[in-house]
Symmetry: C2
Subunit: 265 residues, 2 copies
Amino acid sequence: MTTYPRPSHIFPGYVLDLDGTVYLGDALLPGAKGTVEALRAAGSRVVFLSNKPLQTRADYAAKLTRLGVPTSPDEVINSSWVLARWLQDEAPGAALFVIGEQPLLAELRAAGFRLTEQPGEIQFVVASFDRTFNYRKLQIAFDAIRAGARLIATNADRYCPTPEGGLPDAAAVIGAIEGCTGKQVEVVVGKPSPITARAILARLQLPASECIIVGDRLETDIHMGREVGMATAVVLTGVTTPASLAASDIQPDYVLHSLDELLPP
Amino acid sequence: MTTYPRPSHIFPGYVLDLDGTVYLGDALLPGAKGTVEALRAAGSRVVFLSNKPLQTRADYAAKLTRLGVPTSPDEVINSSWVLARWLQDEAPGAALFVIGEQPLLAELRAAGFRLTEQPGEIQFVVASFDRTFNYRKLQIAFDAIRAGARLIATNADRYCPTPEGGLPDAAAVIGAIEGCTGKQVEVVVGKPSPITARAILARLQLPASECIIVGDRLETDIHMGREVGMATAVVLTGVTTPASLAASDIQPDYVLHSLDELLPP
């Protein structure tokens, strides 16, 4: 096993990616439970981060709690919640057409937005991960954007890994809309966007230099952390392998075989 | 009315775009019937061209005949027919997954291809104009391409103009697949592809220098004609306006207010 640099001290703030970092499917990864417990016991602030807009923050908190890591919804940050916060600043109460699943629609309704399928009324088309995407939704998005609506997205992941391979994610919806309209998506709030980084730091109430982000993806977790000035650690329990790490332009400060290597020796 | 250059002689071969050039919706454009009759009477060869894969060549011929321009299917070239010919050269009898409508599927079955939804068997994913596009089809395309299938397309039009605005065309399907797979479409056979230009010249049995292409779109009809060495004429009865013509990098040899200006004065 290659020896990689590991953190030598406890940070005031930890940002932990979920899929591939804390759990895989429906099981915690080795060391996850003990590591989170040790960090909390040391007085550090911990938030969990996901780009996935298929569940609400409460769903993620409930899953973590069920798996043995007691978590409250406000300790979770995901792309649907970040989108709702961003839109509340940008255009409170706006009329939206959302290509997404029910939890995202519920999150946006709860945040005071009006969801509509009338192209002439739509101010923003929201592209997201949607396993019920179809031509009818594409047509509404096309008509709305031609009538002047803005195009934004929760996340820009190509696919969501599954044991069978993967599910086409929000990048497919963005690509379909960009393809027929010729308009580029204006804002993608999910990681590696600085919009997500700002939401995390506001939640942690800490400067970036006192935080470390830990994830399994170089191009989202590690890229965003470096851009915003956090320490970064990639964990080799998800999509990144020693070979893909060696080949990448994006290099983290630390490399962990499993999450418990986050604790100083 | 601005005076533009017009052809001063009859060409041996004419390539006439359909939508916006010969007809608009269900009505011939002014001068279309008389012009085609005059060209045929002068001994010129005439073929009709469409990127639209929603009907077969026989459907287009029947429509033209019904509107008063008697036409046989072999005088029509459209992107689904060009795709079938191209694939017969490239991979006869191959296993295909087609995101398209019934006439395209029928054309490909008739050309000897096997249509399948089993990702592991699929050799080519064909992206096309499909008003029944949905997530299920996207998932099959994603799985097939991840398993090694090649991605090709009938056409790359962003949208098909309608009185109400437009219908998302094949570029939406291409964009969705490219978005989730990260793979670029390998071949688009429809105009302005040289594959369509070669199919036209093979049908006319004439060198490009003896042919003129007439269409309403600079970026497809006129672009392809110029690339292959045909004379080119844009007709201002479709999407191109005097203003968009003046602003374009793609300039035709001739500009016609209506199709009858194709005949020498």
